[in-house]
Amino acid sequence: MLKTFRIGGIHPKENKLTAQCPVTMVDIPRQVSLMLNQHIGAPAKCIVKKGDLVKVGTLVAEAGGFVSANIHSPVSGTVSKVDQAANAFGVCTPTIVIDTNGDEWEESIDRSTELNETIELSPEEIIQKITQSGIVGLGGATFPTHVKLMPPKEFKPTVLIINATECEPYLTDDHALMLESPEQILVGCRILMKSIGVNHAYIGIENNKKDAIALLEQMAKKYPGIEIVALRTRYPQGGEKQLIDAILHKQVANGALPVSTGAIVQNVGTAFAVYEAVQKNKPLVDRIVTVTGDGIARPGNYRVRLGMPIRELIEVAGGLPSDTSKVILGGPMMGKAISNLDAPIPKGCSGILILNEGHAHRGTPSPCIRCGKCVSVCPMGLEPYLLAKLSENHLFEKAEKESITACLECGCCAYSCPSNRPILDYIRIGKNAVNQIIRSRKQS
């Protein structure tokens, strides 16, 4: 019996169209745009100005606080503009625009492909290196990695969990990465283990990636302390709390940090980025993005430089089909539909999903029939129908009592609702409002 989390969850159609596509390198874009707030936390502070020459890996914006991340130039060229530009959702955000010229890298970066297994740095130096390299959670949450590696003193990490579940339908970027660079991931895992001082790590992979499980199991024999765990395919297994529950059988209390269970969870893409940063001195300048959808000519897993316009990457994959109705940044469950294709690819973009007319639309909402499906699928054990109704009627204090802040916005409730009710839409605004109330209460 394969492990999985114990409360709620769904199994949507997997649609992993690009599972067998190897990672394809994409040409360097002519221009990149780097948004200063592409991670969770304080926006980065721009340290370049128009006309500055930069190389691949040059620091162009430094972290604007502890919970923030550095940003490096993914191309070599000239800074052409530091100004407001619309992000994928049309919202104007401060952005650095760089015009590409050649492909010159910073001398300190080791561009060889040889595997470097010896970890020379001390835990403090590793964390410092990760901080400098601007690494954030590459699963999509974009939480700065170094912050997670420095938990509050009262918590002692006992185990590392690498999240390679990739539970979102359609997305295969982590899968492709595991098949392409299994050893680098395992070394990255060892580095992370050393940085937090633990001797044991689990790599959780869902059972729909049998080739990746077999490959990593074989490779992991060389690396003591790393255990590959095959998990039953179930969404949202990639949620931090769900993964801890699935692997360790421990529940994270509402409001508590996941590290309170002793586990620190990092994405598999992050582990690879950590390997490159620590062993090869390479900051986060590229990532794998799955471009997928039913009518796409060349769907695949593309390694792209960050900041490349989304439109150009779609062109690489064969262009937008004529019946395109919706383009989603991320997967179909937690991704967000975008309105501006000229926006750049941010650090947290794991996929671009293009949906045609037949798949893109929501059903017409009808009244709640009290079937309780949303309650039974909620992985946090909440009552989504109630939370949505409370938020809709601005009863935020009651919503707080019903633990609205525990919602991880996985969308299982809206997915399973037979009445097509926009449950998650309302829960989101309620959650924001309650978080604001809690913050202002703390201040006063």
């Binding site: 049309g90 501006n340 909402p365 926009p422």
Partner: protein, 280 residues
């Protein structure tokens, strides 16, 4: 039968005397003027005065030493004039106000670039993205303001998809101002002619103009031309101070994007020309 009557009468008597004793014992001395003022107030309990309902407002009136900062927006000056003698205070005449919508992003002026089909709430749209047009500051058209109005004073125009405020109903309680996630609605002096900048876009001129043909581009021409210095420019957006505005219309004529609007009593919301074709 008789026993039942006697028992019930005894229970009644005992209860009545108990109630009487308790009501005397726990009697709370309250200023009788609170009740009197409450009976004068319209009883809408809208909260537009800034207090939790009409009774709370009445309590505040009794506590106050002057009526300067107290106004029941529903009853207006008339009600305040009735309240003043009860308290032995002078009623302060306050200019009546009305809500105005600082956006003219009709479908013609502000082209739709995407189609939204989620929950019908401006708050939800605002949390997700810029809305169906490229304007980061304009009306989202889902009608949170209309839903918030207790008096039915706001209707969503089906053609322009902008809110229309009925000047006969609007009492400037401010609930729409709070409900709008884009902060588009403002309470301004209710004059026969009202001149205001019907735009809330703080982006630079080029970006604002690209999103909407009637956006304020922050050129500052109106501020330069205003004879009374009523217009200020902050964050690429002009603002007309209604207490200084002389209604000379100099700014309206000079505005290159026609972002400054005039509302008159006969023409309550110039925003719509009755067109049958739904554009959006």
């Amino acid at each position: 039968m008789i026993t039942a009557i006697i028992i019930l009468s005894i229970i009644g008597l005992v209860s009545a005397s108990l109630l009487y004793i308790i009501s005397r014992k726990f009697h709370v001395e309250e200023d009788p003027r609170i009740d009197e003022i409450e009976s004068i107030l319209p009883g809408a309990n809208c909260g537009g005065c800034g207090y939790a309902g009409c009774r709370n407002f009445a309590e505040q009136c009794v506590k106050a030493t002057s009526l300067d900062s107290l106004l029941c927006p529903v009853g207006g000056n008339e009600v305040m004039k009735k309240i003043a003698p009860v308290l032995g205070l002078e009623a302060v005449e306050q200019a009546p106000r009305i809500a105005v919508v600082r956006c003219n992003g009709t479908c013609e002026n502000r082209p739709c670039t995407s189609h939204y089909e989620g929950a019908h709430s401006c708050a939800v749209v605002a949390a997700l993205y810029t809305g169906e047009s490229n304007c980061n500051y304009g009306c989202l058209g889902e009608g949170d303001c209309a839903a918030a109005c207790d008096f039915g004073g706001i209707t969503m125009d089906p053609v322009t998809r902008l809110p229309r405020i009925n000047p006969d109903i609007c009492i400037a309680c401010g609930s729409c101002v709070k409900a709008c996630p884009r902060n588009i609605i403002e309470l301004r002096r209710k004059q026969e002619t009202r001149i205001y900048v019907a735009c809330n876009n703080k982006d630079k001129g080029a970006i604002a103009r690209k999103a909407c043909s009637v956006a304020c581009i922050g050129c500052g021409k109106c501020a330069k031309n205003c004879p009374n210095g009523a217009i200020t420019l902050t964050d690429n957006l002009a603002y007309i101070d209604d207490s200084l505005c002389l209604l000379c219309k100099e700014c309206v004529e000079g505005c290159p994007t026609h972002a400054i609007r005039i509302d008159t009593i006969d023409n309550p919301s110039v925003l719509t020309e009755e067109k049958e074709s739904a554009l959006c």
